[in-house]
Symmetry: C2
Subunit: 440 residues, 2 copies
């Protein structure tokens, strides 16, 4: 067009170009084009044969059950979601965990990502009294997909983690409770569990402390269970699901293997789920039906729980174990590195202390080698420190509070869900690249 189009403040904010957009474009293009790209970038779940077979069985049932296909394709559901699906879910959670919830505690969204877009902007940003409130992310690095969801800048306050080196080539993040300050400007606390990207799983004790803090301050605690309990349950350590009156849980069908259906679930205070249903209808009228219809009988029978525990979780745990083995083999002791404790989710989180380039440059170099990963610095946001790369700065990654923090430039996320040959070749390419950099 001529003259050039003008975009609003909000439009610029949301369409500004985001990590998640770039990631999805790269991932989608690579998937579509095929070729020999090692796609270790996205959150694409694996095609687990038993799970794909189950979806096929359910689709055949939908096709043979009179009127079912026609309802799924051709009817609008209420914005809150399919009533039978919601009742099945509530029944499961009451039976399994004894949570005192009803259908009024649940709302369905067009995927988990949309649930967060609505939740964050519902609770934080500019308030009616002119003040501003933020979402506290107590354990950075945190999910890349949140970073650009604010309707205004500065929606997130991220906290540096404690970094515990647990072995020569291993480490684990922990919440720095001493540094955690909650005041009037905090609208909610949010964590993903397992954490995307690091694969960290907050301990029951950490979660309980966060919950108490939230309760004391009269704000919600949002727990993103996209990879978590009770399904898909990609958690390799023990972790008890938490529910309380001030807790907002999100679940998703994506990592069970149904990302193409876009089905997210929010369990929370009725005031919240009503607002989500209302906002969902304004933004998108209704939800896609298929994912709910495929999974509903598995909720009713409870099969979804055994499926998650006995099929999905072990499948990814084995994938993680294998990837860690290839990392040890390929990286050897030829440069300094540490792998975050792989306690859940679909990723290894690699740290290269002293990496002489930034993580985006590393990403570009790996892309040229035909390997897609995600540069680590995308996952560090909302931190009160300069975002620039301290190219010349030496020193310990976790040192110098207030100064530039090298650690955020020294990490990358790689997915271990792809076929073993790709994962192994991708790891070998990472090893080659980082080794060549260390030699300079």
């Amino acid at each position: 067009m001529n003259p050039p189009l003008r975009f609003s403040k909000l439009g610029r904010q949301l369409a500004a170009g985001s990590g998640i957009g770039e990631l999805m474009e790269d991932l989608g293009r690579a998937l579509a084009e095929g070729g020999d790209v090692k796609m270790l970038g996205g959150g694409q779940p694996a095609h687990i044969p038993e799970i794909d077979a189950l979806w096929r069985r359910r689709m055949e049932e939908i096709l043979t059950s009179p009127g079912c296909l026609e309802r799924v394709l051709g009817n609008y559901d209420p914005p809150r979601g399919n009533q039978r699906f919601i009742e099945a879910l509530v029944g499961l959670l009451r039976r399994e965990f004894g949570w005192p919830i009803g259908p009024e505690h649940v709302a369905i969204t067009v995927g988990g990502q949309t649930a967060f877009f609505i939740l964050f902007n519902l609770l934080a940003g500019e308030m009616p009294d002119g003040s501003r409130r933020q979402i506290l992310l107590p354990l950075m690095p945190e999910y890349i997909g949140y970073a650009n969801q604010g309707s205004c800048e500065g929606l997130f306050r991220g906290m540096r983690p404690r970094i515990d080196r647990t072995g020569e080539h291993s480490f684990k993040y922990g919440i720095d409770f001493d540094a955690l300050e909650i005041d009037e400007s905090i609208a909610a606390i949010c964590v993903s569990r397992p954490t995307n990207p690091s694969g960290n799983v907050l301990t029951d004790e950490e979660l309980s402390r966060l919950s108490t803090l939230a309760k004391v301050h009269g704000i919600p605690l949002v727990i993103d269970n996209a990879y978590g309990a009770p399904f898909p349950d990609v958690i390799f350590t023990g972790a008890t699901p938490l529910w309380d009156e001030h807790v907002i849980l999100t679940l998703s069908l994506s990592k069970l293997g149904l990302p193409g259906t876009r089905t997210g679930i929010v369990i929370g205070p009725p005031e919240i789920t009503a607002a989500i249903a209302e906002t969902g209808s304004v933004i998108g009228l209704a939800n896609p039906n298929l994912g709910q219809e495929i999974v509903r009988p598995l909720l009713e029978s409870g099969e979804i729980l055994s499926l998650a525990r006995e099929t999905v979780r072990p499948y990814y745990q084995e994938k993680s174990r294998a990837a860690q083995g290839w990392v040890r083999e390929a990286f050897a002791d030829s440069f300094d590195y540490a792998v975050h404790a792989s306690e859940g989710a679909l990723f290894l989180w690699l740290w290269f202390p002293g990496l002489p380039i930034g993580s985006r440059e590393l990403y570009e170099r790996l892309k040229r080698r035909g390997v897609l990963v995600v540069p680590g610095d995308y996952f560090f946001y909302g931190l009160e420190e300069p975002e620039g790369l301290p190219h010349q700065a030496g020193g310990r990654a976790d040192a110098s509070p207030g100064g530039p923090w090298r650690h955020r430039q020294e990490c990358l996320r790689m997915t271990f869900t792809m076929d073993p040959a790709s994962v192994r070749a991708g790891i070998a390419a990472i090893a080659d690249e980082v080794r060549s950099l260390s030699r300079v």
Copy 2:
């Protein structure tokens, strides 16, 4: 929770309770509960046997085509949409209309509603320079689903239509071009064609004038083809699809009969479609795949066009004709009424000049009679006049510019897509209710 939750300004704006939310809740509840409710409220398309049979055939093909089901359910597509679907659509539009467009002119969204949420807020609202811009809706009444999509108040500037009484019991709206003023504060012009709710179809000449106006002022013209050309083509009068470099067209698979798949399509300047893809990824990561996969071969073969023209359009045209007949029969000459020219879409738009109650009160009374419609006043918004009901005011509906405008309280929208018995019984109930009011 205790204390009560605090919602942000944007949160309040979007979750405030909207016409569309109420409509979808009523519709969904009634659909789920069954019973003897006449559901003449929603935009639920009919289940056309030939169309449902076609979806079934496509689903069977998806199940038997190796790897296809697994891709549809289990893979993320790029945010812009499925590449093959987009290419098939572009091919069709180039072949059929000769539009010089490529894949860069297309973006897929989670239903048409979401396309508008993104478009409106991308273009209008608070601008980077602190000014505010609005979306001009040149022909009210306009789609209820836009009304609450603004991230801030006052996103829309609606224009009163010309009202032409074309017969004793018929009328038609027209754009009042004399009153149309476009200045710097207008970000875009938007029309639905056919218009939801009135069933009005802007003439080619009206559309061409709007397009010229938009072009001259360097702003986009947005045309909502949810019911329009080239598919589902629920247009009973001639109407040529319009494309130009400053035109943004939206299409949807919903009214073809796939609302449960949530598939919207935007065709527009590459700058716009890129921003939509980017914003879509921030809000919702990716689109649902199923609708695109079902329809893609029908785009490639062109079958979708004959399907729309030869099956979908005649089906609804006959439904409209029948409903108009029942209205004439039931309303007789027992009170003053006029039906808007039914030129397209799935609704009759009824006007009761001098109705002694407001349209929401009429809605409630009809609900108590087991008939769901949509009160007309929801479709009048963004007008520069008091919104309250002038209970005591008499006078001509379209008189007194600047004063309270009775017309907006005197209309209702009823869907004619349901089974004939329900539509007929619903119309009889409306007749009874309005007749009883006229007697008072």
